[in-house]
């Protein structure tokens, strides 16, 4: 699994030490800037800055690649479509824009602990208290989602293996039913574990 799922790479770089809120604000600003940059030359400059930031963070090439890998086919498709309907500079710019935005978002998750993101989110969400919601619960929801991605991925693998073992690979129902049952069972167990850990105090 890649991307958001606990991708934090420990380190002491200046990016690691920056507060989560500052990084999120920086991310929002940079993405806006990326949208405003028009010329391929300016975007190439932006790409150089992103590469430099990755180098400073010291997360390594593998971790960097893991961030953009999920969008690689989308990027290729986007490039080709733009090439047909526009021209080469336009295709290069818009593709670069998407890849750089994804890379920057990835850099934030690579250098920020989920707990720091959660704490930041909890502070930002403080106003929802007035609407009768609990910011802690909302940010917990985010963590649980992040945590559940690899668990569900494991479940998919197990269901596929069980299907293959029984030679019913092609049946959609034989895939969906155990998957849904497994997901519901996990949700039940998670709820119980949260209660046991004193969530509903």
């Amino acid at each position: 699994m890649t991307g958001l799922t606990g991708a934090y790479v420990p380190g002491g770089s200046f990016l690691h030490r920056l507060p989560a809120g500052a990084k999120l604000a920086g991310l929002a600003l940079s993405c806006t800037a990326l949208l405003l940059l028009r010329s391929p030359a300016a975007l190439a400059g932006a790409a150089a800055v992103v590469v430099l930031l990755y180098a400073v963070s010291g997360v390594g090439v593998a971790a960097a690649w893991a961030q953009v890998r999920p969008v690689r086919w989308f990027a290729v498709a986007l490039f080709c479509v733009q090439l047909v309907f526009a021209d080469l500079p336009a295709a290069a710019s818009s593709t670069l824009r998407v890849v750089l935005a994804v890379a920057l978002a990835g850099l934030v998750t690579l250098t920020t602990r989920t707990s720091a993101l959660m704490a930041c989110l909890e502070r930002c969400l403080a106003p929802v208290r007035f609407a009768g919601l609990d910011p802690f619960r909302l940010s917990l929801l985010l963590s649980l989602t992040l945590r559940s991605v690899p668990v569900m991925a494991d479940l998919v693998t197990r269901v596929r293996e069980a299907q293959r073992a029984r030679g019913i690979e092609r049946s959609a129902r034989a895939f969906a039913v155990p998957l849904v049952v497994g997901a519901l069972r996990h949700a039940d167990a998670l709820g119980e574990a949260l209660a046991a850990r004193g969530l509903d105090d």
């Binding site: 602990r113 963590s143 690899p150 574990a193 850990r197 105090d201």
Partner: protein, 224 residues
């Protein structure tokens, strides 16, 4: 001290426990029984995850019906499947999650987390995603997240069922050294050899309650 008085539990149409009475004061109590006999239900009663349909369950004098939240603070619970009880994406964060309501300074939280991870050999994984751990290490992490709260009582529902021999031995050794009262549901009979007391559950009733040798002997006979 755990007290069950004529406890009945009905889940849906089924009478899962039918009149269980016991006072558990020993330090190491084991629970064995066939699949579906009601062991997990019995374990869940102790921290109020399941409430009796009739009868009462008290822990240190508190009734689980009225004071479940307070009881859960002194009763740690370890489930069979560690994936369900690890709720944070990374190792140290999951342990820290247990301490969130303690009102401790951040340094103190970090110190306690580090200490417990070191004790159970997970210190080098502190910042790793939980899903990179092996099954045995995940169970150890779940245990760390429970023990960091220093509960008075620890209830475990088949903690070694998903573990290999080496990791289940590690858990067994660890159980021996824990200072708190421990109630363990298990099919791992050797684990119970040096326990103080073993209950045998069958079809929702306690059918034997004795020292490990006698209780396990009875259990083997009924299963034959």
């Amino acid at each position: 001290m755990i007290r069950l008085e004529d406890v009945h539990v009905r889940l849906g149409q089924r009478e899962v426990l039918r009149g269980v009475t016991a006072s558990l004061t020993e330090r190491r109590v084991g629970v064995v029984g066939a699949n579906g006999s009601g062991k997990s239900t019995l374990a869940r009663l102790i921290n109020g995850l399941v409430l009796p349909s009739s009868g009462t369950v008290t822990v240190s004098g508190l009734d689980t019906r009225r004071q479940a939240a307070r009881i859960r603070r002194s009763v740690g619970f370890l489930f069979t499947d560690p994936d369900a009880q690890i709720v944070m994406p990374t190792v140290a964060e999951d342990v820290a999650f247990s301490l969130r309501r303690k009102g401790l300074a951040r340094e103190e939280v970090e110190r306690r987390v580090r200490e417990v991870l070191e004790r159970y050999g997970l210190a080098e994984h502190a910042d790793h995603p939980a899903h990179h751990l092996s099954g045995g290490q995940k169970q150890l992490l779940a245990l760390c997240s429970v023990l960091v709260l220093e509960p008075e009582i620890l209830v475990m529902d088949e903690p070694t069922t998903l573990l290999d021999l080496r990791h289940s031995r590690q858990v067994a050794a660890l159980l021996r050294d824990l200072p708190q009262q421990v109630v363990v549901v298990t099919h791992d009979l050797p684990l119970l050899e040096d326990f103080d007391r073993v209950l045998v559950v069958d079809e929702g009733r306690i059918v034997a309650d004795a020292d490990p040798a006698a209780a396990i002997g009875h259990y083997r006979k009924t299963m034959a």
